[in-house]
Symmetry: C2
Subunit: 218 residues, 2 copies
DNA sequence: ATCACTCAGATCGTGTAGGAAATTTCCTGT
DNA sequence: ACAGGAAATTTCCTACACGATCTGAGTGAT
């Protein structure tokens, strides 16, 4: 299916900063560049628009979504803090043997690359994406999983700064969440996920405003 | 923009049961029926696919999304219970004067029609949709609002049974939530929203399984 | 006689090519 | 330097061709 290939190609172009945030996406230009006719490009862009990866300006064409503002990133992490700790707790409660094995396999696949190359970073980011989706999946709630996926949070964070916040500490935090899930300890899983997100949030939002005391959720 | 009109037209067809759940959606058929060429129909269907209102089977066409199963409806309300009480609390904390006025206006617009006609039911359902979106909006979190809207929960519930669960009690519960928000009482707003959703949930899922005691969230 | 398989016609999704309308850009004239 | 207008680019839709899938009849086997 050509339209699907085009869809993936454009997503990759956005992911790799070839199409920068806010850049105009010419429908004919992409068609020529990819060697196809405009029709499948239109279909792909229509889907990307529903996913909010591009925005449409009638009679003027498409642009890639702009970078998240400070407030929007804050809001994004607030949302993640609302659903992901909950998902981690439910995963600890409900994950079956096959699910726990998948979680262990994901962690094994990322023993410790941690080189400083761009590719290494991308691999780690891909692991991070898979890990969080997997936790949402193990929670047994398709709604929560889809809600998480539709935030495209890794894409947004990646576009903002693809050099910060992922490293050995991320893996250590993932291991802690994994351990709690495997131990069937919902309280520990929830706390570990909350801590993981708050660490990433503070890391990325630094300097962070010192309004009131205590973390986002209390 | 023709594609936008087609998009809205198809959404309306789904909403009004003209296109039944799981029904095949012919691309050429719709084009003839709407008096346009297939291209804008394809674009509209691509967007509806991203919104999960239709599903695509490659080389075989589109179908409207199937009805929600009991488990999926349960999952949907679990998700609503996760985000909407939170949103109600944040709305009570953060809503400004203009927001509170909009909430009051929405409630005024629905004094008490409550006739038993189909149109009356549709009007009430539309109010219900607007009310819940408005609460999410007043919470100040675009992520939560979008996550809620993307569930299309009113569409799904409407398709399952468009005759149950909406009535004077719904309005009374909305009033209670509104009062708590206007009183800037987050705890009461959260509790009222939780009670509202649980009432709707139990009403719709009856007979409900009697696993353990107490409501969904504990 | 009934059932299963095969093959042909029809139907529909998919991609291409071309033309109309609108916007943007560039040039010219004041 | 600024306003007006025309050319060029681009979006958007239509019309058409190709290929795959589904439907039905017909044939053969059990």
């Amino acid at each position: 299916m050509l339209a699907d290939d085009v869809h993936e190609a454009i997503k990759a172009l956005i992911m790799d900063h070839v199409l920068e945030p806010g850049a105009r996406v010419s429908i004919d230009g992409l068609a020529r560049q990819l060697g196809v006719s405009p029709t499948p490009v239109r279909e792909a862009l229509a889907r990307l628009e529903s996913a909010e990866l591009v925005v449409k300006e009638p009679l003027r064409g498409y642009r890639t979504s702009p970078l998240l503002s400070r407030e929007q990133l804050d809001d994004l992490y607030q949302f993640r803090l609302l659903i992901e700790p909950w998902a981690a707790a439910r995963a600890a409660e409900h994950a079956d043997a096959e699910g726990r094995e998948r979680l262990e396999a994901e962690m094994r696949s990322c023993a410790t690359p941690a080189s400083d190359t761009y590719d290494s970073y991308k691999a780690l980011a891909a692991h991070d994406t898979r890990f969080h989706v997997l936790v949402a999946e193990l929670a047994g709630s398709a709604q929560v999983r889809r809600a998480f996926e539709r935030t495209h949070c890794h894409l947004h964070v990646f576009r903002l700064h693809y050099d910060r916040g992922l490293g050995e500490r991320t893996l250590a935090e993932h291991r802690r969440i994994t351990r709690a899930v495997l131990d069937r300890d919902p309280v520990a899983a929830e706390a570990a996920m909350r801590g993981h997100l708050e660490a990433a949030c503070y890391e990325r939002l630094r300097p962070v405003s010192e309004e009131a005391g205590g973390p986002t959720q209390g």
